[in-house]
Assembly symmetry: C3
Homo-oligomer: 368 residues x 3
């Protein structure tokens, strides 16, 4: 009872030893001031006085350029954007066809499978009606037929004639694509901070945007990129990658300090399907699509494209920072705990150098 | 040695001055209690007792509506979703074609380039065989030919006849599109908190979803949006934007307080390709795609579309908050440092008003 | 003046009571050491010594498999990837068509609307020229014509004949799709930590990747997933979902502790359009696309597909953690405030058990 009473009706304050020394007193106050300034400064310089918000981004892309091919199969041909971008529009990503294996005039019928270990046969006994497998081009009919004069394979029901399982042309058909340009429009937003910006800066005029090409040093803000330049920066060879395809990231970094009004995009490039040098993985990026026709008899016909190409991914990242009173209070408060550590050290030094100080500071007590 | 020994075998506690005063004692305890409650309350009210997790989202969209066009070129025509959404499916984004420049019956051949400063010629000497440029429609053959009776341009090899580089129709062909509706299905997940939710709420019946249309005040939860309403909210004019195209964001904000069980979507709209008023940038969103045919001779033919339209981006953002014991401990701990600041002030006041207090509190010591 | 002078030219230190007790002294030091170790340990074990960075991801997918259908309408037909993936490429998401309602040979003309409550008529008076509605197939001409021998509907101008508004086939046409496989390639990056990784691990050889199939226990790292397995894990029935379509998420979680060098993908699956059991919402995922032809007269013709299918979304999430000196300092500092709480408790115990201790610790003072 007594102790509870004293707890509530009594105010306790430490008894202090006032060390009369102008030098020490001043140094100690300077130390305290210095520690406080240091902590506040440290919090601010290390950016721990700011809150961050992650980015909300919207991207559109547009590719420009014309490529010329000359194949024995189709003769001379010109490819424009409607031919080589598949599908015509995507969200922050697009596929640029650079090479292809074309199988024209396929119809639903029966024909010899492409010769592989699994499909070569000598008689109908090697083939199973209804059998199909992932790499195959159709469902086996159970018959063994001539694929060519020398080879017999199991007949399949499917799109005939079947696609040839061959290596793509080398050099790539659309080797010209390295001179194509990509125009990237990016709008970003920080909803909490109520801030939005585009990578098309207000001072960019129509004529500038019609003619500029991104250059790391000479024109680092132009949003139009030549594919050759992208590949040179990443030290990948476009002509090699064009044969079997690949995935290339165009990265846009926005690190915005809204206190300072700094907010500008930075562009970088990176191959994202780079395999480990030790790995035996096949590095290929392809997809299959078809153009569908009715032939003269009204029968459904298609031209199958096994399209190799570069998938471009526009990856936008970064964050905005803005100073926040509360977070500063929290972080300075956390550091203030460390003031006492230095207090302790100073005290120990005094105890060593001054016997009288020790005597006066301490009252001794033997616990009973 | 002595000091190390005393350090480990001695317990030091501050000697206190017990100020016997019921009023002060009570006030001081109340202040301590108040400070603690204030700090805990501040941490909780400012949301610093909660941890946040960012959102994982999956979006599907479906557009409905029929548009009618009547052009001299194609006569009366009806457009449904299979005609005006290109490509038919995307991930949280789609392109609604509202206007177009159509170039039918293109085949790979040779023809006069569209007249521009770069292509107009008077004789073959003005044309360079093999030359091509980004805005061109093919590769020059080196000949200068008649584009029309009055104009001669360099002949190109490519898809012929070439696209006319003209302004798109005004008013836009698919002006009816402002009455189309967009049905947006959104599933969000917070994996750490093991929480997921959809924007289709459990109490929405089949008949409600068949008939409702989003309205900011009357029906703010309906996931079906009329395009006209979206444009009215953003104060953009649909008919103007439909001519040259543009990019519109449908933003879904999920700010979920899982402690309170609050988690609902909020919809807003924003034009993301809005240019700076001072800028001379051309505000256009278009893409080119083609429909491929075999003509009666079996030759590859295409109808090229330069499609202007609105790209809709569904942008989902927000975060979930849930109270976390540890983060509360950290933040209250950081604030506790500030209790001492008030202690210091109270002490100074006592020192001023009470000479005896000062005498008893301090022992003086002259450093030797 | 005096007090300001003493403030700056005087160093104050608490007067202490040195309790001479080897036991207590040692225990107190152990407690202090223990508290410090505990706080540092707690901060580290709870992961509050690390900073986190969110993920930057790029995904490509490839589906393999052949399906066979046998309909009275089209006879026996084989479907490969170019037929059932629409569009052929997307960014981390694709649509696998599993069922469809096909309307072949549509041309722009006039025909009877499909019979519904809104379209059935008895005379031209029931039909309004120019009227169109969201579920309709065209613009009404104002005439009432025979849809069949028994039913008359309002004539519409549009793609004719109109699509039949019927239930999709059950079982689904591409029931074989459950044996298809999905190959997912995922590259992730943490830009601040300058760390990137792929889900194709360096030790995966070409032959392994040609043959492996993901299995939760036996092969949890193989990036190739059989659709049947995905559905079994989520306890959804593929054949049911294939009829009306749906949305399935393939989730890849990367929780990387860069201090420990741990960073591996974990796969999970989830149906994201799962409706509330009480809801009467229709659970459907379909889209419409068309294949365009010129018929023998050169007239634009299309085959309309109302395609039901599974939308697969590859959702990548997770974060990297790396220890950070500053954040450790902040969090340990915040906890140090709590040391004093225990000091207070220890002191109270002494005050209770030892009257002499209390007498020496406190000087009494009556406030004047």
């Amino acid at each position: 009872m007594e102790s509870i009473k004293s707890c509530f009706f009594q105010y306790s304050t430490p008894r202090l030893l006032a060390v009369k020394s102008q030098g020490i007193g001043l140094i100690y106050r300077l130390y305290q001031l210095g520690a406080f300034i240091f902590f506040v400064g440290y919090v601010i310089l290390s950016g721990h006085h700011q809150v961050t918000e992650s980015i909300l981004s919207s991207v559109t892309t547009k590719v420009k350029g014309i490529a010329q091919t000359n194949t024995t199969e189709f003769g001379e041909q010109i490819w424009d954007v409607a031919d080589y971008i598949i599908p015509p529009q995507e969200d922050g990503s697009f596929f640029l066809m650079t090479n292809m294996i074309v199988t024209p005039n396929q119809t639903q019928s029966k024909c010899a499978e492409y010769p592989t270990l699994k499909s070569i046969c000598t008689s109908d006994l090697n083939c199973t009606k209804g059998f199909k497998y992932a790499q195959g081009n159709g469902v086996q009919t159970g018959r063994c037929v001539h694929y060519s004069d020398s080879v017999k394979t199991c007949e399949v029901s499917g799109w005939c004639p079947v696609e040839k399982n061959v290596e793509p042309p080398n050099p790539a058909l659309l080797a010209d694509a390295e001179n194509f340009t990509i125009y990237i429009k990016n709008n970003i937003q920080f909803t909490e901070f109520n801030f939005s910006k585009r990578n098309i800066l207000p001072n960019m005029s129509r004529s500038y945007l019609d003619n500029c090409v991104f250059h790391r040093n000479k024109d680092p803000n132009c949003p139009i990129f030549r594919i050759k330049d992208i590949f040179e920066e990443t030290r990948e060879d476009f002509q090699t990658m064009a044969v079997h395809g690949g995935v290339m990231a165009v990265q846009i970094q926005w690190d915005c300090d809204l206190d300072k009004g700094l907010c500008a995009p930075q562009y970088s490039f990176r191959r994202t399907d780079k395999k480990d040098p030790k790995s035996s993985e096949t590095q290929v990026h392809n997809l299959r699509f078809a153009k569908y026709y009715k032939n003269s008899d009204g029968k459904d016909t298609r031209t199958l494209f096994k399209a190799y190409g570069i998938r471009f991914d526009v990856l936008v990242y970064g964050e905005a920072k803005q100073s926040d009173f509360l977070i500063t209070i929290f972080n300075v408060g956390a550091l203030l705990s460390y003031v006492k550590v230095v207090d302790f050290i100073i005290d120990k030094i005094f105890l060593c150098v001054d016997k009288e100080y020790k005597k006066k500071k301490f009252d001794e007590h033997q616990l009973q």
